[in-house]
Assembly symmetry: D2
Homo-oligomer: 258 residues x 4
Amino acid sequence: MKKYVDINADIGESFGNYKLGFDEEIIKNITSANIATGFHAGDPNWMKKTIDLSVKNNVAIGAHPSYQDLIGFGRRDMNLNSIEIENIIKYQVGSIIGFTGLDNLQHVKPHGALYNNAVKDQSIAQAIIKSINSISSELIHVVVAGSLWEELADEAHVKYIRETFADREFMSDGTLAPRSLEGSVIENIDLILDRTISMMKKGKVKSLQGDVIEIKFDSICVHGDTKGSVEISKKIHDKLKTNDIEIKSMFEILNANL
Amino acid sequence: MKKYVDINADIGESFGNYKLGFDEEIIKNITSANIATGFHAGDPNWMKKTIDLSVKNNVAIGAHPSYQDLIGFGRRDMNLNSIEIENIIKYQVGSIIGFTGLDNLQHVKPHGALYNNAVKDQSIAQAIIKSINSISSELIHVVVAGSLWEELADEAHVKYIRETFADREFMSDGTLAPRSLEGSVIENIDLILDRTISMMKKGKVKSLQGDVIEIKFDSICVHGDTKGSVEISKKIHDKLKTNDIEIKSMFEILNANL
Amino acid sequence: MKKYVDINADIGESFGNYKLGFDEEIIKNITSANIATGFHAGDPNWMKKTIDLSVKNNVAIGAHPSYQDLIGFGRRDMNLNSIEIENIIKYQVGSIIGFTGLDNLQHVKPHGALYNNAVKDQSIAQAIIKSINSISSELIHVVVAGSLWEELADEAHVKYIRETFADREFMSDGTLAPRSLEGSVIENIDLILDRTISMMKKGKVKSLQGDVIEIKFDSICVHGDTKGSVEISKKIHDKLKTNDIEIKSMFEILNANL
Amino acid sequence: MKKYVDINADIGESFGNYKLGFDEEIIKNITSANIATGFHAGDPNWMKKTIDLSVKNNVAIGAHPSYQDLIGFGRRDMNLNSIEIENIIKYQVGSIIGFTGLDNLQHVKPHGALYNNAVKDQSIAQAIIKSINSISSELIHVVVAGSLWEELADEAHVKYIRETFADREFMSDGTLAPRSLEGSVIENIDLILDRTISMMKKGKVKSLQGDVIEIKFDSICVHGDTKGSVEISKKIHDKLKTNDIEIKSMFEILNANL
């Protein structure tokens, strides 16, 4: 039985005069923060504020790099080659190190289309792994649990954390059920909570097709962009605690696993 | 008599499809490179290429942060407060560390309006000094020789290098003669060369007003944005060598001074 | 006694994924909309949506050009010369004409620092007037009531509308009391409403210094960026109506004045 | 036998401090200019300068809209839907109308990836045609000769000009041979010149596969981004003249065809 898990969320996605997300509230329900680094959202001033908020709440800090596409919020494929992907990741991960120093940066989690491409395209996953590792072998790579990306991170012998989603169904091969499939996104909050605890305790879950499959993950991704998502996050957080599951940062989990 | 000096130049100022400057040529005449970090010029791909070019030519690497103003090339005052200035510098210096690592970044030299403001405005000079120092006390600050900025860097006990210009006259108080003053920019190349050697050997120079003043500097700033400026840079470089003045990087100079 | 007035507000200030302001609500309380044109806020998709919203609500459309400064929301002086100001205004006013056609564009009102500079700097006011007029002599210039800008528009024989603010005090010379002066911004909503009606009916108001001064204006600027400001706008709108003051667009007012 | 043809080129592709292309020279060899509108290149100041240059040289002015991608120079597919494409075209075509007025804008020619997509994707070609036509039915659409885009423009009963390239081979179905095919780009300048004259005089050309095919076009696209391309453009221009082929603007050609 698994005894601990990390909870991560994307924060610091405001820009200049534009305020986005309920960072001050979601920060209380998470252990690891993915902070936008200026390419899809965020700017130097918001990065500083968001880092300060994370430190104050004892939340570990991660970089959340993206394609350079403010107007599309990093959600559009930009058709970059591997070298270009390596360069934008080095630039953005570096940018946050300018505020935190290398030692206080826990992890890197790509955003939006870059994240989705890493799941679908092996060469993109490898460019991401290579660029993060070139900065420091101590940086934790966040990968999608059950993906080829996880395998590549494993083969590359880098530190990695497998993340999953509390409100998403899986296929029988362990990959996330695509949003286009009916029933792939779970909306019933009680079901989300029970299922999360069950996955944590048993390490198993019923796939969308009805098979019982193994599910291994270290972090749950939650959202803070609406009042409703913050409430769900709080309920997941509280439900885990009342079930004696410790909520730890990625760094603490990897150390505990040693 | 002074025996060595650094030569620095701004490079890496291309952007996307826009090629600017003769980096491949000027790189041969300098020991320290100020590499644009994406706010007035440069982008992740050009940064990578320019860092590789510097490494290949054994030229020490520095960050060249600026106000965020691509269309104005960082030459317009953006009216930022001290906190905002600290944040843009941390972001940009960090971004280049993503490529080089902290240990391979030698120095930081602000660009354009930010540089000019640091000379004129004590609070801006202090914000610059504070932000660079917060990243690492090993980073070398490039300051204008004879300026208040130099004094502030000295008081802050940070590592700094005083730069000057071979083609500019000085006022009797040791500050640069403003470009608006007639005769403040020297155009005769022989005069530039003789004067440079004389300043290096005697540590003295005649001011625009005619007084003989002391002049102390560690680095000469040259330009590579036109074919003509590259040629002048080469002549300065060669003239220094034939006069037995060693051309060393900022890092080597500070170590030699210990 | 004056019988009609225009109410204008800045809308369309969202950008990409960033939603700003309560456009769907404020649109019901106004007769003229100042639509952001992409330099401080807005983008082609939001411009189209906002134009459609205005048309649907029978609100006249205006361009709201700004310095090119998304991160600073157009609130920072960018130190542009007259030619540069003319060019950014032509570009932005043109951009909205691409959606509306020239005939359906009613007015132009500069935003933020550009607006403030037009009040303070005669050459900037003249560049604004010149550029709008070069596009079409039918376009209405929005100027600050009682400013030098108004005088310049008058001398240039262009069509103009004088705007004022319901919640701001005036100096005895008829100019707006600067925000830095204590008491310059009125916060009591009843006072705002009574004062607005009084100014409309009597054409006079008591200045911050206590003198009774003449006040001539054609449009009241309201805000829709917070729920509270939308409510105030609605109250102003309703109070005007119950006092038999017709709320007409700038275009209708200029025609009625003929 | 055909007696006249237009020559068009992309100009105004500088940005801020970045100068690109030999506009002052290529302008002498063309009759229609495609002026960048700020999304892949160009800015309000360069647009004004380039429009003035065109007027001075009696060259007709066109808009050259693009995906919003300065760093990728508009050469990357941005995955926009039809509505989004309509909006970016309206915005950009409008922006140049802010300088020229509608009556002095002759044509619209999409740039880079947007142009290439219009050839490959019917819905994109239709979005382009629809958006230009919504601005004015007088605006001339530049389409690729022999493409589906041409057919769609024809069916939509809009004014259009078919452009071709002097240095590119065709397939037997009349479409451009893709650059990936060996021999698709002609490099021998004499061959380019002879072939251009032959196509103009006979209305026929030998395809890459060896078949003689009909070729109908109204404009030849030339380049001014290198010294070499300017020279080729000049030779094409002069060769046409010495062969008694009149070089006329798109507008003049459509009028002559009435």
